[in-house]
């Protein structure tokens, strides 16, 4: 079988069906709905994996980076669904996966700065190419942390809203406790921040080199990455120095996620005026 025949539609449709089944489970709770959602989600992840392996997308392209990010979040979905079987995990993670896939699809054909599979460049240890891959990998992993924090924050806000209205715990969808969600958010942020810092620093070092074609500090992707880093720094300051918790941290994490999406969606602008 040729894996090159697998298209984005194959796994996006599988994720969409899985999400539909999760919604059905919310309306009419039956174990079979959850199981079927898991099967479709798993099938989607398999197709997604084969697609990425077959296409060898460059991480520097918006299409590639968003599909890679969606793939890691889909793994997170599968892990979470198996680990927290009674929690409405898919209802929160699958829309994010689908959103990232759809956004990535919008940039299909975006070649990136360099052609070739980013992992092979990462392990090639060849000067700029290597550091470029390190930069992309660190930002991608930071992106995963932000996505996890985003999911935890949305779950937190929904759960807090239900509890504020004093909805009986057994009614509707089941969610993790507020403390657990806050903990998940905290860990995701703490892990993402050094990765983001590393990614930004490597990027800045690359930009400072003469070989770089970027416009410098005015490059929109560089700017949004710096704003994202700043929001993260504020987030950590609020969390650890001012001991701000709960809703405000969740809302700020959502802001960070929006900035992340912008960072991934905005292209680097080359000094010649074009976009790669």
């Amino acid at each position: 079988m040729s894996y090159e025949r697998i298209t984005v539609f194959c796994f996006a449709a599988s994720y969409a069906v899985a999400l539909g089944l999760e919604l059905l489970h919310l309306l009419r709770p039956r174990p079979i709905h959850r199981l079927a959602a898991l099967v479709f989600g798993g099938a989607g992840l398999l197709a997604h994996t084969l697609y990425l392996a077959a296409q060898q997308l460059p991480l520097s392209s918006r299409h590639g980076s968003l599909l890679f990010l969606a793939w890691i979040v889909a793994v997170f979905y599968l892990y979470g669904t198996l680990h927290h079987r009674r929690v409405a995990w898919g209802l929160f993670v699958l829309p994010l996966v689908l959103g990232l896939v759809c956004l990535g699809t919008l940039f299909d054909g975006d070649p990136g700065e360099e052609e070739g599979f980013w992992l092979s460049r990462l392990f090639a240890f060849q000067g700029d190419r290597f550091w470029g891959a390190v930069h992309g990998t660190l930002l991608l992993l930071a992106g995963v942390g932000i996505c996890v924090g985003f999911v935890a924050s949305v779950m937190y806000l929904v759960h807090a809203r239900r509890l504020r209205a004093k909805t009986p715990p057994a009614e509707g969808m089941r969610l993790l406790s507020l403390e657990r969600l806050e903990e998940m958010n905290r860990r995701a942020i703490v892990l993402a921040f050094p990765l983001l810092t590393g990614g930004v620093l490597v990027g800045m070092a690359l930009m400072a080199q003469a070989a770089s074609q970027l416009q410098g500090w005015t490059d929109p992707r560089v700017l949004t990455a710096l704003v994202l880093w700043l929001v993260f720094a504020i987030l950590l300051y609020l969390r650890y120095s001012l001991r701000v918790r709960g809703r405000r941290v969740a809302l700020l994490t959502i802001v960070a996620f929006v900035l992340l999406v912008v960072t991934f969606a905005v292209p680097h602008t080359l000094s010649g005026g074009g976009t790669p």
Binding site: H159, A160, R161, L163, R164, K166, P168, P169, A170, E171, L176, S177, L178, E179, R180, E182, E183, R243, R245, G246, R247
Partner: protein, 427 residues
């Protein structure tokens, strides 16, 4: 099947009567022995705060235990006039008695539908009777099946889903906010009865420490000693509130003891995260405005009762499937029991006819000795066998059908008795 269930329950009988008809351990043992000895029947007595029921069976007999005799027995055991007892009793026979026990054990006839306690009480009643050798083949099979049916009903329908007690609902809310409790402090304010039960549930979460405060230091000391907590002087309530993660308030104060202003001062001193307050006092101990849905989560008695009502409402949706399951199991049990009862009779009838046929054929061969070939003998033997099976086919089929259709009802039993008498099938 000769089975009788006699008793009274919360549905029609006031608690004053039920109390007088209830069996304590000593009376229960004596009564079981007496029922077994005096009336020669298998017996199980189920005595709970909501019902008193006697299950009696005579599997091999033609006549079942008499309901009036059981009423007399109950009156005699409890030293009550028969007229005070008889009007409150209901009686279910055979298949109806099976259905009743299955419904009771499955908690379909309980005050709180779906509660899990009754199955344990039925098991206890059965084990007590079993321990005194008062149960035989019918009640053994019936009670074991009743417990299996109850398990099926609980697992295959949503009848037992959700929490119906205020204290367990309170703990559910706490679990929605916190995931681990080994670093949490529980503060108990007051010493109300409901508080004790909720505290018992909270202790199961194994919090790091429990603090108890009360206007009366002695009461605080006593409650703290009972739950392995530490007493805190009433004057230090604000300090304790600032340290607590979960607050259980159950005082009898006429006015709120923690106003919104007081709580704001406590919040300013708190270094911890969210606080969950379970205010189960009436009148309420905490100002409702302290519930901000961010740092303070307040749940009062009305919120907790709402869970109970929602759960009960939800459970009612599962009553119809549970009843259908009980009906199916009742039919299956009655058929199985009829089959067990009719099986030996048919076997004995067949054996008797078989013996008679062999004797006749043997005599015939003896008289015609030398005049029959081996082939003739085989032909004659086959013809007699065919005649026997054709004669027996009708009655056996009719009896089996009657037992199956009526699930061991009146018609089946009449035919079974007739068959026994007509063919002189005695034990």
């Amino acid at each position: 099947m000769i089975l009788l269930a006699v008793g009274c329950s919360f549905r029609d009988t006031p608690v004053a009567v039920r109390e007088r008809l209830a069996f304590d351990a000593a009376k229960l043992g004596r009564s079981l022995d007496e029922l077994n000895g005096r009336y020669g029947c298998e017996a199980v007595i189920l005595s709970t705060c909501n019902r008193v029921e006697l299950y009696l069976a005579r599997p091999g007999a033609d006549v079942g235990p008499d309901g009036d005799l059981v009423a007399e027995f109950l009156a005699e055991v409890h030293g009550l006039p028969l007229a005070d007892v008889r009007p409150h009793l209901y009686a279910h026979r055979n298949e109806d008695a099976v259905r009743h026990l299955f419904r009771v054990t499955s908690s379909l006839d309980s005050l709180v539908v779906g509660e899990g306690q009754i199955a344990g009480q039925v098991r206890q009643a059965y084990e007590t009777a079993h321990g005194r050798e008062c149960v035989g083949p019918l009640l053994n099979a019936l009670f074991q099946q009743a417990l299996r049916v109850a398990k099926r009903v609980r697992t295959e329908t949503g009848i037992a889903r959700g929490k119906v007690s205020v204290s367990s609902a309170a703990v559910d809310y706490v679990r929605e906010v916190f995931s681990h409790f080994d670093d949490k402090t529980v503060l108990v304010i007051g010493a109300g009865k409901m508080g004790e039960l909720t505290l018992r549930h909270l202790r199961e979460l194994r919090p790091k420490r429990i603090l108890v405060t009360n206007r009366s230091p002695e009461k605080a000391q006593s409650v703290a000693a009972g739950c392995g907590g530490a007493p805190v002087p009433w004057e230090e309530l604000d300090d304790a509130l600032a340290r607590a993660d979960v607050v259980l308030s159950t005082t009898g104060a006429a006015e709120p003891i923690v106003t919104w202003e007081r709580w704001q001062k406590v919040l300013a001193r708190r270094k911890k995260g969210a606080a969950v307050i379970l205010d189960i006092a009436v009148p309420r101990d905490f100002d409702a405005r302290v519930h901000d849905g961010d740092r303070t989560w307040l749940f009062n008695i009305d919120d907790l009762k709402r869970i109970r009502e929602a759960t009960l409402h939800e459970r009612l949706k599962h009553v119809a499937p549970a009843e259908a399951l009980v009906e199916q199991e009742t039919g299956a049990f009655a058929k199985e029991w009829s089959r067990r009862r009719v099986g030996p009779v048919i076997e004995r009838l067949t054996q008797e006819c078989e013996a008679k046929r062999r004797a006749i054929v043997r005599n015939l061969f003896h008289k015609l000795n030398g005049r029959l070939t081996e082939a003739d003998k085989q032909y004659i033997e086959g013809a007699f066998r065919k005649l026997q099976s054709q004669i027996l086919h009708g009655p056996i089929r009719t009896l089996s059908d009657a037992m199956e259709e009526g699930a061991g009802g009146h018609e089946g039993h009449t035919l079974l008795d007739a068959l026994r008498k007509l063919f002189r099938l005695h034990d």
